[in-house]
């Protein structure tokens, strides 16, 4: 199987789906890059080159550069979805939700319910999240927990290139609004990705490691950290199950509860701030439904309750590290060095 980057996997999913379905349009700020300028019309392909080449392939009617006007074009994507297109809009950084959230959570998320079931809003909003780029407080947040809170939205967090392609194809084919989170530190990550199209169903967690001593439930980029920690600990005789929920809404509560019950020792890893995040959500779920199976208190490894700092020294302390995950696993298993 061919090795492809996370960036290529996303681009390939968009390209193959656009070939299949002429009602798919993509839009965003500099999604082609260069509209109206004298030079190249496909100069950027988004700020990190994810959509590079799609303008040349599909033309200006299907790859639409937008003004820098998030409420306007995210709202337009929602309205287009409710009237017959399947738009994929790029909200460059999820931090910019602050200037368009109304169109997502009051409009797109609620049409189906408010209109008595008679609306279909198949919009995908692709957005970059996460720390590690020295991009500071307004370009580094996670925020998937905020969208997960809203009924009517689906939220996908692909953790590697294979997941990115399959989950994006599912997001595009899904008839509900989907917020698709791409971690900016993962675009160059490589992995095996089939050339053909495939959809990974939402709400079905992926168990990436199986073990007996602890269960690590991790989200997005943190799945990779958890896998690395599990592999390292197995050499010390501590074996871990690692669960990648893939989507936070819908959430595969069944797999989470089963795998938590199997080991009775749980670590939840979430790059988001600690209040009301996925770690607290999953911990509450396990405490409510499987408390009697727990052999130790659940440990949460998260970012601190602070904005993302700019300084490399501080940002490295901010992001949940593999050392912290390892310490948490050792702590719940009672097996220190």
């Amino acid at each position: 199987m061919a090795k492809k980057s996370y960036r290529q996997a996303i681009s390939e999913a968009l390209s193959q789906e656009m070939e299949r379905d002429p009602t798919i349009v993509i839009m965003g700020e500099d999604i082609a890059g260069g509209a109206g300028a004298e030079g190249e019309q496909d100069a950027w392909g988004g700020p990190l080159g994810v959509t590079k080449g799609l303008y040349t392939k599909f033309g200006p009617d299907r790859v639409l550069d937008t003004p820098i006007t998030e409420s306007g074009f995210i709202g337009a994507a929602v309205g287009a979805a409710a009237s017959g297109l399947r738009p994929v809009a790029e909200l460059m950084f999820v931090d910019f939700m602050g200037v368009c959230f109304d169109q997502i959570f009051n409009q797109a998320a609620k049409f189906k319910y408010m209109f008595g079931g008679k609306a279909k809003t198949p919009v995908v909003i692709r957005t970059m999240y996460g720390a590690g780029f020295r991009a500071a407080s307004q370009h580094s947040q996670c925020l998937y927990n905020v969208f997960t809170h809203i009924p009517g939205l689906k939220v996908a967090l692909p953790s590697n290139p294979y997941e990115a392609k399959g989950l994006l194809i599912q997001a595009i084919r899904d008839d509900d609004p989907v917020i698709f989170f791409e971690h900016k530190a993962m675009y160059d990550m490589e992995g095996e990705v089939p050339d053909e199209t495939y959809a990974i169903p939402f709400g079905q967690a992926n168990v990436t490691r199986e073990g007996d001593d602890a269960t690590i439930i991790a989200f997005g980029r943190m799945v990779n950290f958890a896998n690395t920690v599990a592999d390292k600990l197995s050499k010390d005789g501590i074996t871990c199950t690692v669960v990648d929920p893939r989507t936070t809404s819908p959430l595969d509560t069944e797999t989470i509860l089963e795998t938590a019950a199997e080991t009775g020792r749980v670590v939840v890893v979430d790059e988001a701030h600690p209040r009301c995040n996925m770690a607290t959500d999953v911990s509450a779920l396990i405490c409510q439904e499987a408390f009697d199976k727990l052999k130790a208190p659940i440990k949460m490894v998260t970012a601190p309750h602070a904005p993302v700092p700019f300084s490399a020294a501080l940002e490295d302390l901010y992001i949940p590290s593999m050392d912290k995950i390892e310490a948490a696993v050792r702590s719940v298993t009672g097996k220190s060095h």
């Binding site: 306007g72 009051n106 899904d174």
Partner: protein, 321 residues
């Protein structure tokens, strides 16, 4: 394009339907039969109907929180609407939307909206769909003078122009954003705002059905022919408060009475068509009677209709789970 006798009868019927509907809702709300927040369109009928007479089911509109009139102007079913406003299971939205979210996408009615300025970006999207699918459709955003100051509205003017969308923005200026006068809250003029984006813009007397109809004819034609967006500043009169229960102490005491006596859109329409010999008074009287009966019947049925049940609480959050 001229208005045929059938068109005139249809326009009058829709305007009377809105008036009777709103008067009935006013009465029932005062009596405590209707829950929640209600914002009435009475007095503004000629504006919504004058625009929507040019539209068909493939054209979209996005409305405001004052949405009953736009819904009826877009030919949504008055019976299902009344049930919805009473919160009943068989209402237009299953009782889950109510007055502020009343919608029927099968009629191109993309919803009243609880968010002031929420509609224009959505209408850019509906217009993009029409443009992409080349189906000849147009999309109309109704906004109030209050919403006209929201950033979403300016973003939508810009986007509609940049993308040359078949979109029409109808600023229905009833003089008050809630209780604040548009003389205080709106800088510049609505027409100048449109023109700043190079969008053809015109001000009309929104109480005059024929003036609105003519302005909308031009705007819709331009949109259908690929000529891009237009703006209509429609000056209208609000007979009731911002919401039902508003004591309206910010308005001159005789303002509404003067409107009703001298500027009533139904009265102006009747005078115009009878004086010009286009329709006879008896035909209009017959519409008045039949619509009044129909609305009375809708109210009786809405009161008797079943409520949603617990089984309905969690349905229709998603299409697939």
């Amino acid at each position: 394009m001229q208005l045929s006798r059938e068109d005139l009868l249809k326009a009058y019927r829709r305007m009377v339907m809105i008036r009777e509907f709103e008067e009935a809702v006013h009465e029932e709300f005062s009596a405590g039969s209707i829950p929640g927040f209600v914002h009435l369109y009475a007095g503004e009928e000629a504006s919504g109907v004058g625009v929507c007479m040019h539209l068909n089911d493939n054209d979209y509109i996005a409305s405001t929180h004052r949405g009953h009139g736009h819904c009826l102007a877009k030919d949504c079913d008055e019976h299902a609407m009344m049930l919805e406003i009473f919160g009943k299971k068989d209402g237009l939205c299953g009782g889950k939307g109510g007055s502020m979210h009343i919608a029927d996408l099968s009629k191109g009615m993309m919803g009243a909206n609880g968010i002031v300025g929420g509609g224009p970006p959505l209408i850019c999207g509906a217009a993009l769909t029409a443009k992409t699918l080349k189906n000849g459709g147009v999309a109309v955003a109704f906004v109030g003078d209050g919403a006209s100051n929201q950033g979403t509205v300016f973003e939508s003017y810009n986007l509609a122009k940049v993308w040359n969308l078949p979109a029409i923005f109808v600023v229905e200026d009833n003089g008050y954003a809630e209780a604040t006068s548009s003389r205080y809250s709106v800088a510049g003029s609505q027409v100048a705002r449109g023109k700043a984006f190079d969008i053809p813009a015109i001000e009309v007397d929104g109480s005059d059905f024929f003036a609105v109809w003519e302005a909308a004819r031009e705007a819709v034609e331009r949109a259908r022919n690929g000529g891009g967006p237009s703006l209509i500043h429609s000056r209208v009169l609000r007979y009731y408060g911002h919401f039902e229960g508003d004591a309206m102490t910010y308005r001159p005491a005789d303002e509404v009475a003067n409107y009703r006596a001298n500027k009533d859109p139904l009265m102006l329409f009747r005078r115009r068509v009878t004086e010009a010999g286009l329709l006879e008074g008896s035909a209009l009287d017959e519409i008045d009677r039949s619509v009044k009966d129909r609305i009375a019947q809708c109210v009786v049925q809405a009161k008797a209709a079943p409520e949603p049940t617990e089984a309905d609480l969690l349905t229709d959050v998603y299409i697939s789970y």
